[in-house]
């Protein structure tokens, strides 16, 4: 189920958030209803209170006379507590639901945005958005939004009751109440910029502190560590002074708000007291109104308290929607929807349908067995291999093309090496074969068939990839290896490890293949991680291999072993090798030299050396080690 593309850019943040909440209308309505019920109970309680005090104080009644009223009041107190409970439970379950749905959408959208987007962002920031950013919406939906409704309903209910009873007090209420939202809006306007500035100063201070502490060893090495304490004190003092001078003004507006409600209560008290004195109203009426006065302002003051939750929720939502609004890359076809079908999606944020030259229409229901043509790669009649024809690509964030007018051949079953300085476009070409990036112009054909017509997921099943820095996931070594082949037997895994020269290392581990690795387990060295990626490639045993040759510093003995491993792996497979070292380049049957996104030379080691171009000068300068 794909939501229709709705133009979400000009609708305000509030409306978008509200739409999320109305996906569960009933829960929201009930939350507000129970909150309002609590407010009505408070009014009733005030009435009983005034009625019984009046009876005892002026009519000389005893406990027995008001016992019925008091019992009724006890019931009301319990009802009020129950209403509070129900309203809070409903509000939090509504908020939890919205949060998890939103987080799901966010993560699925990030996954669909593909690595070209995520690799450009700070992982820490994206994680924080998906975790804390989404959490910040909890208070928005469970507190701020219901309170927004209650701050209208409860005072309005009280007003409707008080007006017929005592128009004068009604007028005091009526004129002071709107001042509160006005002041709040004023405070909010200044507070937003002030809080942001203050938060900025604080985060600067924290960043400075973290920088100093992380660099502590360096400072010690440079003999400067002891001078830092004084600097930290100074920075803290400066932060205090700046913040306090700001707060002196911010708090002033909060003072106004506070004053408005207490002063109004005082005005009401004096005003009814005086009329009572001249017998223009009854004591019970007066007491009832006096008890109601704080209750009248309470929802408005609570809204003020929760205003902050509303603001931080809005700013968190801004970033979340920004990610959700990032259009999916051009011409990425999908054979399966990763998006779960949930109630929220139809509310629809702008997730534009991929346009452009998508040859395979999107399917509406996810099914892995697609009726796509067989993946060629030497299986069909046409065995021309992979062919790039006048391919261009420019990254969204750059002005110059990363790849311009590239035409090249990667013959089946052979090793084709890409050579060039960093930034020459080698990784972009690999990313195109991995289908992380699609050509802006030009075509890539696989044995004559357009690569763009093959669904990326299908295509990727026929390739292995050995990146420079493979990702290690939280889990055991075996689980990390099985990523490449979920149902691989232990024997298969051991065999792959043997071939990748990883087995000796695994045997030194007490837990062997069950050793937990990743962020929360044993750390692998750069060389070990690379060999793990090789083992993954062996396990997958795919006809196409894309290999980014390891560059991390290895001693010559390790390096030689790794080369043997690589050599075996490439044997007989269609290989695109991003080469950094001469000895692997030598083994390639074809070499393509890239320079500033263009193909500068093609040939073999011998022919390129002879022609005396870029390749020959690279070799002579020793830039290929």
């Amino acid at each position: 189920m794909k939501p229709p593309a709705i133009k979400g850019y000009n609708t305000s943040m509030f409306k978008r958030l509200l739409r999320l909440a109305t996906s569960n209308r009933l829960a929201l309505a009930l939350t507000i209803f129970f909150g309002w019920l609590g407010g009505l109970a408070a009014i009733l309680q005030a009435w009983i209170l005034s009625r019984s005090i009046d009876g005892v104080f002026l009519a000389g009644q005893g406990l027995a006379d008001v016992a019925g009223l008091l019992k009724f009041m006890l019931g009301i107190i319990c009802l009020r507590a129950l209403a509070t409970w129900a309203s809070e439970r409903l509000a939090s379950s509504l908020a939890l639901r919205i949060k998890s749905d939103l987080r799901n959408r966010l993560v699925h959208h990030l996954a669909e945005l593909n690595p070209a987007f995520t690799q450009n962002q700070k992982t820490g920031e994206l994680t924080a958005t998906a975790l804390e950013g989404v959490e910040a919406l909890e208070a928005y939906f469970s507190q701020y939004l219901p309170q927004l409704a209650l701050a209208t309903f409860i005072p309005l209910s009280i007003l409707l009751l008080v007006f017929p009873l005592d128009p004068l007090t009604g007028l005091v209420f009526l004129f002071t109440a709107p001042l509160i939202p006005v002041f709040m809006w004023l405070i909010g306007k200044t507070a937003e910029s002030v809080t942001q500035r203050q938060w900025h100063t604080l985060s600067q201070l924290s960043a400075y502190l973290l920088d100093v502490i992380q660099g502590l060893t360096t400072l010690k090495l440079l003999g400067q560590s002891l001078h830092q304490a004084g600097r930290i004190q100074k920075a803290s003092d400066r932060y205090r002074d700046v913040t306090l001078s700001v707060l002196r003004i911010t708090f002033l507006s909060a003072l106004t708000l506070e004053l408005l409600s207490t002063l109004s209560t005082a005005i009401v008290a004096v005003e009814i007291g005086l009329r009572l004195l001249y017998a223009r109203m009854s004591f019970q009426q007066a007491l009832f109104i006096l008890v109601l006065a704080p209750d009248f302002y309470l929802p408005l003051r609570l809204l003020g308290l929760r205003f902050h939750a509303g603001m931080s929720g809005t700013s968190a939502a801004r970033r979340i929607f920004e990610i959700l609004d990032t259009p999916l890359p051009n011409s990425l076809c999908h054979c399966e929807e990763h998006l779960p079908s949930n109630d929220i999606v139809p509310v629809g944020q702008a997730i534009p349908l991929p346009g452009g030259d998508c040859h395979e229409p999107r399917k509406t229901s996810g099914s892995r067995t697609s009726s796509l043509p067989q993946i060629p790669l030497g299986q069909g009649n046409d065995k021309t291999g992979i062919r790039f024809e006048h391919v261009w690509h420019t990254y969204a964030s750059r002005s110059l093309p990363a790849i311009s007018d590239v035409s090249l051949d990667i013959p089946n079953g052979q090793v084709t090496a890409l050579v060039g300085f960093s930034g020459a476009g080698k990784s972009t070409l690999a990313a195109m074969l991995l289908r992380f990036v699609e050509p802006d112009q030009g075509e890539i054909r696989v044995d004559g068939q357009l690569l763009g017509s093959i669904c990326p997921d299908e295509w990727r099943q026929h390739l292995s990839w050995v990146p420079q820095m493979p990702s290690l996931f939280n889990g055991s070594l075996a689980e990390n290896l099985r990523l490449a082949k979920p149902h691989a037997s232990d024997a298969e895994i051991e065999d792959a490890c043997q071939r990748a020269d990883l087995l000796d290392f695994i045997r030194t581990l007490p837990l062997g293949l069950a050793t937990p690795i990743g962020e929360r387990g044993t750390r692998l060295s750069g060389g070990q991680a690379q060999r793990l990626a090789l083992a993954r490639a062996y396990l997958r045993d795919a006809p196409l291999l894309i290999l980014d040759e390891p560059t991390s510093s290895l001693d010559p003995l390790q390096e030689r072993r790794l080369l043997h491993s690589l050599h075996d792996l490439m044997n007989g497979r269609t290989t695109l090798l991003i080469a950094h070292r001469l000895n692997t380049v030598r083994q390639a049957s074809g070499i393509i030299v890239l320079d500033s996104g263009r193909v500068a030379e093609t040939g073999t080691h011998a022919s390129l050396l002879k022609s005396g171009g870029i390749y020959a000068s690279l070799v002579q300068a020793g830039a290929l080690t």
Binding site: D211, A254, L263
Partner: protein, 582 residues
Amino acid sequence: MKTMSRLLHFILPVWRWLLLAVGLGALTIASSIALLATSAYLISAAALHPSIAELQVAIVGVRFFGLSRGVFRYLERLTSHETTFRLLGRLRVWFYGVLEPLAPARLGGERSGDLLSRFLADIETLENFYVRVLAPPLVALVILAGTGLFMAGFDVRLSALLLATLLLVGVGLTWLSLVLGRKPGQVLVEAKASLQADLVDGLQGLPDLLVYDGLPAYFGRLDASQTGLLQAQHRMAAISALQSALNQLLTGLGTWLVLVLGILLVSTGQLPGIYLAVIVLAAMASFEAVQGLPLAAQYLESNLQAARRLFAMADTPPAVLDIAGSQVKIGSADLTVEDLGFTYPGTSSDPPTLSDIHFELPVGKHIAILGVSGSGKSTLFQVLLRFWEMDAGEITLAGLDVHQFTQESVRQCFSVLPQNIYLFNTSLRENLLVADPAANPGQIGQALSTACLDEFVASLPQGLETLVGERGLQLSGGERQRLGLARLLLKHSPIYLLDEPTAQMDTLLEARIIRNLQTALQGHSLLWITQRLVGLEWMDEILVMQAGRISQRGTHAELIGVDGLYKQMWLAHNDLFALQDS
């Protein structure tokens, strides 16, 4: 309890501020109680239709309390923030003082970044300690005492009844929500951590997941950890709803009980009826003082946890201690190492990380240390720099045991290039000046050109004022390494320790830098760690390390003449190059 008293110890110097803030906080709540009480008195008195003069005091009172609450609240917020900031400033300086002697040995190596930011978060958590933890119960105590006395003025039984219900909320409910919330609270923290780990996994590993079609399985895992978080949050929400409802119920019940007792007292003539509304409304308002306590207790919990972590760090003994009366002056930079042995505490000592290391480094000698990764080369530097205490053997400087000098003065002898260069988030220039705040442009230029960084800096529009970004990440690995090298050259300490200074550079640059260093370090002592067999010909001595021991030593010419690791590596090295001619 111990953590609490240590934490309170930090408060001592700001106790005046604290007292002032608590006093103002109590006055704020007292104002709203008084506002309702005087208002109730006003209308009760007015109901008896006295002359207006008799009501004047009450009217003035109502007006005063109507104003005072806002003013007191304003002053209270200012003072409490002042207190907080003073407290926080002290905590920061104190914690830096704690960390300084612990770096780097006790700071957990590679993952220190995460660890340290957690500590900073802990310090910021303690920001709440005064406002949200310490102040509410103190304010509540003052209000409880005040209300108790006020009520006792009418009848002791009224006072006892109200105090009992106030305590039921303030102590009973607080305790209940603490007990109920403890376990789910821990589950919640763990569920969050596991979801975070899964999110980082997925975002960083997206390319691998896509290529190996691991997304469906990954989403399954993510769903599971999200469900875990949801369940924990549901449980916490249930507890918090229960707490709110009980809070509401007890407040209503307290008011109701005071009302019933008040009616009883009035009808039996023990309390003038005019005060009935006064006591009920005062009671109602007094609950504000205790309503925030369950929340304060939750903050207390997280504050104590944060403080416990910080204090645990503060209690960690440093890896190396200076002996009292250590000398500061070191005569010459002649270094000798004899039979040095070392094993990281807590790891297996078989084989030791370092054993039987001995060499002499008189001023001007150049030594290379060659070995495969994990052979103990970098550890040797750590021990030489007195970051770790040696287990056996002796290190001498100017003929004297290094234990006779302070660590600080020993480190003054060394110019060190560590493997991981840390750059501060400021300009290139500031990063260089850390080594020598008084360096002149000539010296800086010289250092840059030796480190082959002059062309790079010249190519930058902002030159040396260019910002390097967080941890220097705006620069490439090779640029960071060269900046580290330039910085080190400004330190001018006599013994140079370089840990794979060219690891992240291409061969061209490597050759240039080695040539430059050869010239620049003429006449200085040098210990150079490497695992690449480049530039070793000009070393006075090469030490080959294997499993923490020196397995071979000699010059390049000597070592390639005998069988051993050096020759093997040399052959492999040539092999790799020979491939091109086959």
